[in-house]
């Protein structure tokens, strides 16, 4: 493009996208020619938003004023770094001038999230109430995740999220961070406000779908769906964050809590454990995080290399060990070293030499903990590691195949997959 306006354009981007300059920035977004646009479903927005094809990428372009575009760009970068499910920012372009010489609004460019859909595209003819419910559930999970990272959204709605299909459910991603703010921690008021606003907005959005005759529901049904955001959010938030107290002997309840959190798709990053003065009551308060960092943390602390879920299991036990021995204030690496020597290694040694090849070390430890969990739950008290290991070695391990051998098998000798399935 050789119009003189290009010279005044300011592009802020983390990575260079030279072909961005090929787009008609001197034309208001609303009037962009079809040739540049990608035919994707659009949500409702107070701004003009268009999807644009650029090489083999699809970008979302939103017109807004410069300070807001810059602010949202920075916010989305931050959220991406915090691994919050949100769209990825690409660039901000300011200094646009129209062909008539009038200044045009700045734009914020984000990468289109593949396979993602605005809620209005989750249905073709009619929105089934069940689909709406699942979208609301996904939004509740997203809102909890955002609140855990300290992000106050300020404008929660189905329209401000995108949805990806996820094995029968949906996963929601934040799209619009314009009104959002990041804090160290949110106040109950901020969370309440977001949840209440979400309820109002979801109800409004569904009323609009009813008005378009794509949802056959009366006001009570609409409200029942919108109310889900409140109940799902609070249930999830309570499970993830509320402290829990129990008698010192019921240590298995620490694991029970962690297990419930894991089942909900969250990992425990930190477990604050306090005991009362006479030491009879234990109070735990989990801090949940997103998946992925446990194998790194385990490797750093113990040198053990394990898969993510195994690492999580081992670290949970390390945390319980730390608490049980009252060593929360100590250097984490020293405690970890002792845990390897006192807990992890003895379990490995308890396995007779001839059975050591059956299960890999980290997996074996996990299975012993698993076994202890079942024994403890059945006995309603902690059976202890020694008893668990002995029972496992006698009752479980002998029946397992030798996994090392399976791992060493040449894949060609394995039966071929059934061709009829493809």
């Amino acid at each position: 493009m050789s119009t003189p306006t290009v010279a005044s354009l300011q592009i802020t981007a983390a990575r260079p996208y030279p072909d961005l300059l090929d787009l008609p920035w001197d034309v208001p977004l609303e009037e962009w020619p079809e040739e540049h646009l990608a035919a994707l479903p659009r949500g409702i927005s107070r701004h003009v938003v268009r999807f644009v094809k650029l090489g083999n990428r699809v970008l979302a372009v939103k017109e807004t004023n410069a300070p807001i575009a810059h602010r949202e760009y920075r916010m989305l970068r931050l959220l991406n770094r915090l691994e919050v499910p949100s769209v990825a920012p690409v660039a901000v372009i300011t200094g646009r001038v129209g062909r008539d010489g009038e200044p045009l609004n700045a734009v914020l460019i984000t990468r289109h999230l593949q396979y993602s859909l605005p809620y209005r595209a989750l249905y073709s003819q009619m929105l089934r109430p069940d689909t709406a419910k699942r979208a609301v559930d996904a939004l509740a999970v997203l809102l909890v995740k955002l609140h855990l990272t300290g992000f106050y959204w300020g404008d929660v709605s189905l329209s401000n999220a995108l949805f990806r299909r996820d094995a029968g459910a949906f996963a929601a991603y934040l799209v619009d961070a314009e009104t959002g703010e990041l804090y160290d921690e949110l106040s109950p008021g901020q969370r309440d406000y977001d949840v209440d606003l979400a309820r109002t907005n979801i109800a409004g959005e569904l009323m609009d779908v009813v008005a378009s005759e794509a949802l056959d529901a009366d006001m009570d049904e609409v409200l029942a769906i919108a109310d889900r955001i409140v109940s799902r959010y609070h249930a999830l938030w309570a499970e993830l964050t509320e402290p829990e107290s129990f008698e010192r002997g019921d240590r298995w309840r620490v694991e029970a809590r962690i297990r419930r959190l894991n089942d909900l798709g969250f990992d425990v990053g930190e477990l604050a454990i306090t005991t009362d003065i006479d030491g009879t009551t234990v109070r735990i308060e989990p801090k949940v995080v997103d998946a992925g960092h446990h194998s790194r943390r385990l490797l750093r602390l113990t040198g053990l290399d394990a898969e993510e879920n195994q690492a999580r299991r081992l670290l949970n036990d390390l945390d319980s060990y730390t608490a049980a021995n009252g060593r929360q204030g100590e250097d984490e690496e020293i405690v970890a070293h002792d845990w390897v020597a006192d807990v992890f290694e003895p379990v490995q040694r308890a396995v007779p030499r001839e059975m050591r090849g059956k299960v890999e070390a980290a997996e074996l430890f996990h299975e012993v903990l698993e076994h202890r969990w079942y024994l403890s739950e059945r006995a309603a008290h902690d059976v202890g590691l020694e008893e668990a290991v002995n029972s496992y070695v006698v009752g479980v391990l002998p029946n397992k195949p030798d996994e090392r051998a399976v791992l060493g098998v040449d894949s060609r000798s394995l039966p071929a997959a059934d061709p009829d399935l493809y």
């Binding site: 409702i44 107070r46 004023n65 008021g189 406000y193 109800a203 409200l223």
Partner: protein, 358 residues
């Protein structure tokens, strides 16, 4: 409708070493339009969010009317945040777009209809009520968003930089609309902006904050004529007030080759130097006084502004802005002299920044 009272309200962020809002004492009258203004980080938005229930209050109280709402959840405070969300629903009529929140709250149909009608009348949207948002202009859509807040008939409207996402033209237009609308509705309103022009043109009273501390709360006129301290003096007014540090001498302050007379009693408690503030329109061309070299002449028709530099005794260049007759402005590059109009100067203590005298 109700009053709003901040009673020594304090907000300290976790890990923060000083309060974001420090013992704020502020009383907003029933039906009043109060603007909180100040530079970024002054605590204005935090104060508003404390009132909205979005920020914890770590000390003091907040009252709406006689009711202590310090720990009341946001949705039970009977307040409305205006413009927070104004994506309009495309398949719903303007009336339904305005009244949907009432429907969710279970308000009876007749009541919704009545309130929407009333709001539409005030907002000049009556003839559009049965239309879809698509048929509306940008300004009309903005008014529908206001309508959403109005129909809820809250005790207090809260607005946090509501105009920041509008372009310049729509911003000035909407500013006037909000101000006149608020007067007609007479709903107590707390409005946050960083723009002192917005604050001065909209508010019944303006509260200036800096570093979490309330500097002054007054009517725009009084704030302009009688700033309490040197910060308010420099912050309010455009172009800004000239602030000069002058030597105190017997009978007044040394102003170039003249002495600006000041009552002896006023200077008794100050040191060797005093800050003198004078607005651009209160400087007069003279044959003696402040020597100013003219750098830029900004001609506005009837008036012109002179942007010049003053060579002070210490040798430090200081900008001076003065309003002069637009028909006969001094030439760029020339040196002219200014003296303040008698009775139109502001004196401030150099150390504390506080106003000296009435």
């Amino acid at each position: 409708m109700a009053t709003v009272t901040f009673d020594k309200a304090t907000r300290i962020y976790p890990g923060g070493d000083k309060p974001a809002v420090d013992a704020l004492d502020l009383h907003v009258e029933d039906g009043e339009f109060l603007v909180l203004v100040g530079p970024s980080g002054c605590g204005k938005s935090t104060s508003l969010r404390m009132l909205a229930g979005l920020e914890d209050v770590n000390g003091g109280r907040i009252l709406i009317g006689d009711r202590d709402v310090t720990t009341v959840p946001p949705k039970d405070r009977d307040i409305a945040m205006v413009f927070q969300n104004y994506a309009l629903y495309p398949h719903m009529t303007v009336a339904d777009n305005m009244g949907f929140a009432l429907k969710i709250a279970g308000t009876p149909k007749d009541e919704i209809k009545r309130r929407v009608q009333e709001a539409a009348k005030i907002l000049d949207l009556e003839q559009y009520l049965t239309r879809k948002p698509k048929a509306l202009s940008g300004g009309q859509r903005q008014r529908v968003a206001m309508g959403r807040a109005i129909v809820r008939q809250p005790q207090v409207f809260l607005m946090d930089e509501p105009l920041s996402n509008l372009d310049a033209k729509l911003r000035v237009q909407t500013r006037t609309q909000i101000a006149s609308l608020q007067r007609r509705l007479a709903v107590t309103t707390v409005y946050v902006t960083h723009d002192q022009v917005e604050a001065m043109t909209m508010g019944d009273r303006v509260a200036v904050l800096k570093d979490g501390l309330l500097q002054q709360v007054d009517t725009p006129r009084r704030m302009y004529d009688h700033p309490n301290n040197v910060f308010v003096a420099g912050f309010i007014g455009s172009p800004a007030m000239n602030l000069l540090t002058l030597d105190a001498t017997d009978g007044g302050l040394k102003l170039g080759d003249t002495v600006h007379p000041v009552e002896r009693s006023l200077l008794s408690g100050t040191g060797d130097k005093v800050t003198l503030g004078v607005r651009p329109e209160d400087l007069e061309l003279s044959t003696s006084g402040l020597p100013v070299q003219v750098d830029v002449v900004e001609e506005l028709g009837a008036d012109a502004y002179i942007y010049g530099s003053l060579a002070q005794a210490g040798g430090e260049a200081h900008q001076v802005i003065a309003r002069v007759d637009g028909r006969r402005p001094p030439e760029k590059g020339s040196t002219v002299h200014f003296t303040p109009k008698q009775g139109h100067v502001h004196l401030f203590d150099v150390t504390s920044g506080q106003r000296i005298g009435a």
